[in-house]
Amino acid sequence: MIPISYYLFLSLILFSIGMAGVIIRRNIVIMLMCVELMLNSVNLLLVAFSKMHQAKSPGTDAGIEGQILVIFIMVVAAAEVAVGLSVMILFYRKVYKTDVQFLDRLKH
């Protein structure tokens, strides 16, 4: 049995790594991947909390909503990646670069 603070630490560390990655990197593909890392850290924490609620009342369906929310988060992440990558390919067909500094067409 592990206290929940271990999973809180791990999820927070992963989330801040992903957050720093989105700010540091300039390649649009890797920025999307760091967003996926942040989503996964939240998934991990949700499953940990669902097991914590089950530990409080074992034998019942106590914490199952957390895992169902994780299913739906994965659904939304998959749809978002599909559409986001197709938008990114459209952008690449115009500029032939993947640096986000070229994403300034609305400025002109």
Binding site: V29, I30, A55, I89
Partner: protein, 175 residues
């Protein structure tokens, strides 16, 4: 330290290490491979917590579909090594300081209350099994489930429609 604790620390170390390598590596294909390792280790955490369905779905959906999609897109794009992959050093230090401060703040907030002492039910418990998850998903949460299918259909239509060539581009490429 009991066996679940040792397993937790091994997998947590692997997760954090591959997460750091994802952010820090220069080659985008290496980043994708490190992220796949991260997803596998998070699935290992799910198996430790007996969330079996989510462990398998994580591997199939994230590591198996989404990351392969990323790999195909990176291979289409022919990334050069000369492209500047990282921001200026000032932005790198500022981002590291900001995320370190964020981590410190949230960890201190978490340590104030005693919610962190609650124990987890590891390697036991029935709620992660496919049968229980499925019976709750199809009875209590059937409306979000059906809406998720509509969401997928709209995402598919959007992705196909966005990557079609317009008539002008077809004429230009036929010349």
């Amino acid at each position: 330290m009991s066996t679940p604790e040792i397993l937790f620390f091994i997998m947590a170390g692997l997760t954090v290490l591959s997460g750091l390598l994802t952010v820090a590596s220069k080659n985008p294909i290496h980043s994708i491979l490190y992220l796949i390792i991260t997803f596998f280790s998070i699935s290992g955490h799910y198996v430790l917590m007996n969330a079996q369905f989510l462990a398998v779905i994580n591997i199939i959906v994230y590591a198996g579909a989404i990351m392969v999609l990323f790999l195909f897109v990176v291979m289409i794009m022919n990334l050069n090594k000369e492209d500047r992959n990282f921001s200026k050093p000032f932005v790198i230090t500022a981002a590291s300081i900001v995320s370190a401060v964020f981590l410190l703040l949230t960890v201190r907030i978490m340590m104030q209350s005693d919610i962190g002492q609650n124990q987890l039910l590891l390697a036991e418990g029935e709620i992660g099994l496919t049968e229980n998850l499925g019976s709750v998903l199809y009875s209590d949460y059937v409306i979000p489930f059906e809406l998720a299918s509509i969401l997928f259909m709209s995402a598919m239509i959007g992705a196909v429609m966005l990557s079609r060539k317009t008539k002008k581009e077809k004429r230009e490429s036929a010349r």
